[in-house]
């Protein structure tokens, strides 16, 4: 076998191996998307009921709570950025990071100091590499977040928002995550979690035009709101974590699918090149034999003379 042909054969073998791996990763990601979507669906009843309850207390009482009142002069904001621990997901992480950077820029233009909280190794690595300050980071659960993880993420944020701004607390809480629209579409979105705007919450739960009953609060409206709002934040963060996980798996699936397709294409091209090389080798051999034979014939013819 000629050297050229051997090189092609070797490359085909290596690309075939890569293709097998990406194909497997694609299928794993596809099954994980379904699982993640199911988790999003399973967490919906809780989120819905909680949202309803928040709307009910918010509209049914005149209670003022630090988590629902807007600061007159917001000076500090917290941004929670959700990324994934692992890459190989196309532009998934860079889109989320870009969205967070745009939001940060906007908030800073409006005169707010921004504290960044990060979930996922990818986002953390991005910020660390640029030596930007990260208030707190959480890693290790982005593929399959549990409610306990959401609580863990929410705890320092709630603490920060309850503290006075002068003591290092924040006035606002924003979250940047990747919304799972469909298998093909995932968009990085930012939304303000706190202070809570009740109109938005009502719109979300579909209770905008519904007249809510006059609730009897046990033990009191303040206490209920006190207990309710942290749970609401946790549930929203949990939902965002789940959506982000589903989006990540969908993005991985897509990235791996195009990698598999590319590998297939490359194998085709290389096979054609290898065939051409083989053919060239044969042609060369034939022409060498023919050349040799005619040289021999010429030589014999010469000796006869």
């Amino acid at each position: 076998m000629g050297a050229q042909l051997r090189v092609y054969k070797r490359r085909i073998r290596s690309v075939t191996a890569t293709k097998k791996i990406t194909k497997a990763m694609e299928m794993i990601a596809a099954s994980r998307v379904v699982k993640a979507q199911r988790k999003v669906a399973a967490s919906t009843p809780y989120a819905q009921e909680l949202t309803r309850a928040v709307t009910a207390v918010g509209t049914g009482s005149n209670t003022k709570h630090p988590l629902t009142t807007e600061a007159e002069n917001p000076t500090r904001a917290a941004v929670l950025l959700l990324t994934s621990d692992r890459g190989l997901a196309g532009a998934f992480n860079s889109n989320a990071i870009k969205a967070a950077e745009q939001l940060t820029e906007r908030l800073e233009r409006e005169g707010r100091q921004v504290d960044t909280y990060i979930v996922g190794r990818r986002g953390l690595a991005h910020y660390n590499f640029r030596e930007r300050k990260v208030a707190e980071s959480f890693t290790g659960f982005t593929d399959e977040p549990s409610y306990a993880d959401a609580k863990q993420v929410a705890a320092p944020l709630i603490e920060a928002i309850e503290k006075d701004t002068a003591d290092g607390g924040v006035d606002e809480l924003h979250i940047v995550y990747t919304e799972f629209v469909s298998m093909m579409t995932q968009t990085a979105v930012d939304s303000r979690l706190l202070p809570l705007s009740l109109d938005e919450v009502a719109e979300e739960s579909g209770t905008k035009d519904e007249i809510l009953p006059l609730y009897d609060f046990e033990p009191s409206a303040e206490d209920v709101l006190d207990a309710l709002l942290p749970r609401y934040v946790e549930s929203r963060i949990y939902n965002a974590l789940l959506q982000s996980a589903a989006s990540k798996h969908a993005a991985t699936r897509r990235a791996m699918k195009s990698a598999t397709d590319n590998a297939g294409e490359l194998i085709n091209t290389l096979s054609r090149l290898a065939n051409a090389a083989r053919q060239a080798e044969i042609t060369q051999e034939i022409s060498e034999i023919v050349g040799g034979a005619s040289a021999l014939a010429d030589a014999t013819a010469g000796s006869d003379n």
């Binding site: 309850a53 009910a56 009953p213 609730y215 209920v224 749970r231 549930s235």
Partner: protein
């Protein structure tokens, strides 16, 4: 047919139980509360403790809930809990071991959780 109310017991990551009931007893921060059909709209904070649901077919469902809310309106009752388990799902031996471990480690929170689960399991 006796009046009934629709109960949904939901935990953060799943719906634990839902169905029709005639009476629901839960523990709020200000004491035990029983809700029957036609109760006044109510929104309360739950203590961790067992919740007893008397279903309309005469059965009883007991669940252990840890932190959460009870809300009732339009004959629909929602029990929201961060974690909730039906008594049937609780493995008594496992929880007893957990309780002992919590006691040994002096983890009051874990001890309380284990205690609530045991009481719920005993009430089934």
């Amino acid at each position: 047919m006796a009046a009934e109310l629709h109960v949904a017991l939901v935990a953060a990551d799943r719906e634990v139980w839902s169905g029709e009931a005639t009476l629901v007893v839960a523990r709020t921060t200000s004491g035990d509360i029983g809700v029957m059909p036609g109760h006044q709209p109510l929104l309360g904070v739950l203590e961790s403790g067992p919740v007893t649901i008397r279903t309309s077919d005469g059965g009883t469902v007991v669940a252990a809930v840890h932190g959460g809310f009870i809300s009732f309106a339009d004959n629909k009752l929602s029990l929201l809990a961060e974690t909730a388990e039906l008594a049937d799902e609780i493995d008594v031996h496992h929880v007893e071991r957990e309780l002992e471990r919590a006691k040994a480690e002096g983890d009051a929170h874990a001890e309380r959780r284990a205690d609530v689960r045991l009481r719920a399991a005993a009430g089934r």
